[in-house]
Symmetry: C2
Subunit: 428 residues, 2 copies
Amino acid sequence: MDRRHFLSVTSLMGAGWVLSPEINRDHYEDSKSGYSLPERAQKLLDAASKPAIKQDVLPLNPVILESVELLKHGRQFLVRVRNNEGAEGIAVSNHLILRYSQSLFVETIAPFFESTDARLVEKTIDDLYRSSYLTPSTYKWQGIQFWSCIASIELAILDLLGKLVEKNITHILGNGRIQEEIGVYRASGNRGNAPEEEVDFFREQVEAIGAKAIKYRLGARMHYTDDSTKRDRALIPLMRESFPDLTLYSDANGSYDIQTAIEMGRLQEEYEYAFFEEPCPFDHYDETRKVTKALDMIVAGGEQEFSMRQFIWQMDHNVIDLVQPDIFYFGGLSRSIRIARAAESIGMTCTPHISGAGLGFLYAVLMAACIPNAGPYHEYKGVDQDLPAESPGISFIPQNGIIRVPSEAGIGVQIDPDFVSAAQHIVK
Amino acid sequence: MDRRHFLSVTSLMGAGWVLSPEINRDHYEDSKSGYSLPERAQKLLDAASKPAIKQDVLPLNPVILESVELLKHGRQFLVRVRNNEGAEGIAVSNHLILRYSQSLFVETIAPFFESTDARLVEKTIDDLYRSSYLTPSTYKWQGIQFWSCIASIELAILDLLGKLVEKNITHILGNGRIQEEIGVYRASGNRGNAPEEEVDFFREQVEAIGAKAIKYRLGARMHYTDDSTKRDRALIPLMRESFPDLTLYSDANGSYDIQTAIEMGRLQEEYEYAFFEEPCPFDHYDETRKVTKALDMIVAGGEQEFSMRQFIWQMDHNVIDLVQPDIFYFGGLSRSIRIARAAESIGMTCTPHISGAGLGFLYAVLMAACIPNAGPYHEYKGVDQDLPAESPGISFIPQNGIIRVPSEAGIGVQIDPDFVSAAQHIVK
């Protein structure tokens, strides 16, 4: 059994195994058929199809998962995995999503991972996605709930693998650990307040963490109104006047049509903004592409993209200039790093998106530390006060706008053992 | 209160209100800006943005929803809605999806519909989709679970509205009731069996229901293998030889790359197949488009499309030739009919997809009866034996390959009252 698993991973490693979204990709390369994809698409697909977990750093012996558990304490959800020798990995999940995904997690997704080799987690995710394990077929469940369950399990597995090889997961992922400190931007969730109130909000926040960059919201979320446009037109210059030395980002959450997006983009260009996130609804590819083409400034997006192939499509067809996979919604660190790697292959920057729940900001820091094309500043929305977790020597409150990258083994976080042992084990 | 609702729906009706995916679409029409969408895209968007519920058939007075309940009996899920005068609508849900979506349904989606006017259900769905009612924002939850909950509620609301005006819902939807009998095709869920076994399966099924059309599976589901290709190459001619007079459809469930899809399509053309469903993975738009362009036969798809805008994009860019929204996965009859209407505007056919759970086949029959561009045959996978439901004068087992369209008020189905009263009411 052990030997078979060992041979299996070894032969996969040797073969340079590839992952979705490609199926039997040799066929794409048959240029005689005339049916191959364009070179740029192929380059992106190639980059995204290589595993993001560094196989040469993994344990030499199989790491067979014996249990995958969902734990709940207050509103927080934890995932704990154990191998058949009692070693343990643990991760904090995204409670906003897991709250409505418990039965999907414990009845279907978690059992699929049991008895698999943790070293092959990327292949296990790929196999699950294309399987008929769920009814209807698993791939039909692709979405925020499915991928957030997967991401939570993958994080716990990475924690386990890191602890087994006594390395922080930044040494296991992507290009390995290439940064020790990550700059953050403070993001605001406000919308509809007066421009002056938003400035006051940021004055306080910027001072508290020494942020060098901020991101605020435009539009009215998936639509705009006369009131929101009036606020937008006032806020864009006012933020620059109020924070002359900061890097400014904006996020329209898909509020605009083409013309209004271009108007707002031009105004941001005048005031030297660094990116403009989701000017049009996330699934309006043609509209967003027109905006991106018309503007000189960077258009960012990808937070709502669940499909690996469509994310690559967006890059290939210049829908967006900067990619923002959400580490939970998109299914975990390895899938997000594969998107970053595809972006890197065509010279694009990646700033992973993360919501404010649990340890999201820290996962973004860990990811940014091991990709060469990370943006200069990453999302920070504050810390959940109800989560007793710490990382030795690391402040979760940024200092001078910086968070140091955890360096302890695994994820590098210690969750209060009393908190964990008092958690409820969610069962079928 | 009543008067305000009445005015509200009246003014909406008068204004010819439009729905997602458009935001402030007037701006798209400003041709001077140079940022409008191409004419074909605009035509599709216009067609999809008109309500699918015939507003002139609705009750004159507000139908305020007092309760939206989820009931469970065995594996079946029912949704029951009541207005503030005690009238009731009920629908059978898709138990395959609801099984893992109960908390999302009862804690979040159902309460959003309470106190709304049932006549404005399309607007309520649109408002919910673009709202921040869920955290993170509702639109981020778009997927099979979110839309199947919505679809189930909409079906119960349509049942209520139909009962109030004493008309079958076919009179309320789309172009109104334009067909009394719907042809079905028998679909097989088999894969991996020997070609001869698949023929035997269909001989029995075709005889049982007098089917004039059948659909079977090719490939290995989201990938292919040497074995599956061998089966495919044998099955395509064998099915035609075995059923010379039947209409033949195939479904690859996204199994192929471009080249293999074209090979299999050419073989089907030789044997006069009528459509080829999902030759490439559902989210491989460029690959599918190349296959569609290369082949003369009809390429069908759309079952996994959750986004209204992307569905229209697929039509606009000729990714597929025939559209197949799933009545549950895509969020209900009104959204599916809006896709059918967009398809009609450019001369495309629509055959809604439906899984084998609950009364799905009957919802497909009802939809086909009120759209002018319905295909000749619609999906039939057999009847759930554990669901005591009947429609007066209608056999749920097709006769001569035909199911008659229910004509009683509402959905036109009576569920055994003992079954309903013995069901468990799922609460928060």
